[in-house]
Symmetry: C2
Subunit: 321 residues, 2 copies
């Protein structure tokens, strides 16, 4: 029985090879800028979800769908390049961001190029034409929603009254829908029924939300060595995470923590949030989403790939601290 | 017999109505930013080319293809929003640009939303699924080329040795291919043969190049009242237009003109360029492109729409000064 770890590794290698074939030796500044983050690595989780969903619907179908799997990675990378400009981030995947190496105009265009390639690669898959049209439509709607999610995320930075529902809508759009589209597109191109495609979409969206909630926990709880980020950076920056929202609802004022914090202060804050039950509640909400994700898969016939999809949902909330 | 003027006006109204239906009353800052330039008007030339090409291939087919016609206008508008950020332009179609009314992050996202909608609307047309897949692929390739064209245009600003061939590649990508895609996509969705679709593409690309060369002439020769722009702004900014390239090849140094110019100085420069035969040569090159465009149409059966397409190519080089 393949372990998820082995499967992820094998398929990341497979996607890396395709990325190298298409983007490893491109000419001109613009295309090099487009390829920059792609070539910097990544876990290729969205392509793996495409592949697993396809094979869960029809064993072996994913061999024809590698271009579609790549399309979802290109979409993800296009959003990263544009987000990094908007957020002014200078490092990503251990390399300087595109607008830092080149400039903002080139980074805008580099993202736009990947955006186009994503749609091209969906169409380059071997699949039924109607399925490709549906997949294109879904990718298009998903991209518009991701933009909305990023827009909400930026707007939240200027607010301190974001509700849990608003937070969930934001992370659903910013992170969930692309996992939803990955699973649904993989399934649709493999010949899924509408009901199966919808179940796969629900699987993906809820897994993505679980992933994002877990990210909030990791930011607060994981050691810097483990997460690669400063501990409690979200709290220092006053981000409206689920932790911050629930803390506010319990009357815990995080405003005094919007500054450089010592390890002791962070530990003290964690103890306070734990005492109020907030960490446990947030963890339960992540588990709940992963459970909904796995339940959505129940209508699919049992298979190795269905099992691995379920394990991905669990893996998203087991990532470490 | 319908005149081109009447036809353009009637169809611009038709597209305006569809734009108003979809974008006239959108909610949220992001979607309002996306709709901003679209609602500021425009001649809707690309949608009209989609409609004419469709009807030239199969009379009456355009009624099912209005979403695709809109898709080409959305693509155009997405590139305008992003270009305005890169070029730092503050006015467009008589209104402040998107990043001026909102901010750069919102403008990047607003362009990205229209980009997604363009692909969605291609798929919303009533047409054969294989044709839609081909249309999607063509739109995707076209978008990547437009990015390349804009990238070349920006790179040219730092050079003074751009060749005529490089110039033609740049305008072909920046302006030509979207007209090419408009004509070919209209044709393909209406059931064009590959040869017809290719002819329509050639028609569009060459019309677009003619359009751009004419734009260079208008910038130099048209009165400010007529063009809405400062006269000779390209020369003042040292842009590598076809006029500037041919002037350099004839040994006319435009560098001393990269400054605020009086009307007399501009008139003197025009006389000098005319004396060297440059204005006539540039004009001939525009005429040549329009001729190639019209010749490409010859394989289509005669029809009112074929005639109007030909007239569009002529109209592009008759636009005024």
């Amino acid at each position: 029985m393949t372990t998820l770890e082995d499967y992820l590794e094998k398929n990341a290698d497979r996607i890396d090879k395709v990325i190298n074939r298409y983007f490893g030796d491109v000419h001109g500044d613009l295309f090099r800028a487009s390829a920059h983050l792609l070539l910097a690595g990544g876990k290729r989780l969205r392509p793996v979800v495409v592949i697993l969903a396809a094979d869960a619907v029809r064993k072996g179908s994913s061999d024809d769908l590698i271009p579609a799997a790549l399309a979802l990675e290109l979409t993800h990378n296009f959003t990263l390049i544009h987000d990094d400009i908007m957020d002014g981030d200078v490092t990503r995947r251990g390399v300087p961001t595109v607008h830092t190496v080149w400039d903002e105009p080139t980074a805008i265009l580099a993202g736009d190029v990947l955006y186009a390639k994503a749609f091209e690669f969906i169409c380059l898959s071997e699949a039924d034409n109607l399925a490709k049209v549906h997949a294109t439509k879904m990718l298009a709607r998903t991209c518009a929603e991701i933009c909305e999610g990023q827009s909400m995320d930026m707007a939240f930075e200027k607010r301190d009254d974001v509700s849990e529902m608003e937070y969930l809508e934001m992370v659903s759009k910013k992170t969930g829908v692309l996992y939803g589209a990955s699973a649904a597109i993989g399934g649709m191109l493999a010949g899924a029924t509408p009901v199966q495609a919808d179940a796969l979409y629900q699987f993906g969206v809820n897994s993505g939300i679980a992933f994002q909630i877990q990210d909030d926990l990791i930011d607060l709880l994981a050691s810097t060595e483990k997460s690669g980020k400063d501990r409690a950076s979200d709290i220092r920056e006053g981000k409206q995470t689920l932790i911050a929202i629930l803390a506010r609802e319990k009357g815990i004022d995080l405003a005094p923590y919007r500054r450089s914090l010592s390890a002791e202060e962070i530990d003290g804050l964690i103890a306070r949030l734990q005492g109020a039950g907030i960490i446990d509640t947030v963890r339960e909400k992540a588990v709940e989403r992963a459970t909904i994700a796995k339940e959505a898969l129940s209508i699919l016939p049992d298979s190795e790939e269905k099992r691995l999809l379920g394990e991905i949902a669990d893996y998203f909330i087991a990532r470490g601290y």
